[in-house]
Amino acid sequence: MTQNFDIFILIPFCILAETISVICFKHGVNQDEKSPVDVGIAMMILTRPILWLGLLLWAAQLIAWVTVLEHTPLSIAYPLMGLIYCTVPLSGKWFLGERLPSRQWLATGIIAAGVMLVGSTGI
């Protein structure tokens, strides 16, 4: 019962939070292309609110993740986070305008199927 809660509620939350935080970080780093000076990473974190949002989501995700690992084996929970490999390239395409060739569409499908297979061993 608890493990099902992990697999259907908490892990999807972690996937969503991780995806948004990766996009936030990439968007934050991308601002360099417009900036004439190359700033250090510490300075970057302090001066860019989008990176704060990324860190906040990372913290929320960390708390949810530790509660998942209380009841669910690492060898089941961690592969489910592989769905990030579908959500990040798709978000990169939709929100950052990055290119996604057809073979990468196929790859995200294979990953999603593998995630479902691993997930089925846990429910």
Partner: protein, 133 residues
């Protein structure tokens, strides 16, 4: 960090990802007796394992930010694929979790898909060291 060769940066990711997940699993073991709440958060924050995880997370964060400056998100993300194998093996060997065939097949599909995402025929970046990894 800016001058670190690309292959070295890539190698750091699976090592520190695996250590990070092992530390988080041990943190979970340390707070499992407590219902989720303020006391839970306090116990988790007081566990040495969570601080091990933070150290791994900071190292990986710096490495990851450096990689992202050289590559697109959809090209750089597949680098962490190898962690899926090392973390699964850690789960079985260190935490004595049950091994199932469907898990092995699923993980093979995930890693195969990640490899397909990453190794596109077009070189991702003209910078140094990219061909060595």
């Amino acid at each position: 960090m800016k001058s670190a060769p690309t292959w070295l940066l890539w190698g750091c990711l699976p090592i520190f990802n695996t250590l990070n997940q092992a530390a988080l699993k041990m943190t979970a073991g340390a707070v499992i007796h407590e219902a989720f709440g303020l006391q839970w958060l306090f116990d988790a924050a007081m566990s040495p394992y969570i601080w091990m995880s933070f150290a791994c997370e900071i190292i990986n964060f710096v490495v990851w930010m450096t990689i992202l400056k050289r590559h697109n998100v959809s090209q750089a993300f597949p680098l962490t694929a190898i962690s899926y194998a090392t973390i699964m093996i850690t789960g079985w060997l260190v935490f004595h979790e049950p091994m199932q065939w469907a898990q092995l097949i699923g993980i093979a599909m995930i890693m195969g898909g990640i490899a397909m995402l990453g190794f596109s025929p077009k070189p991702s970046s003209p910078d140094d060291g990219g061909d060595r990894a």
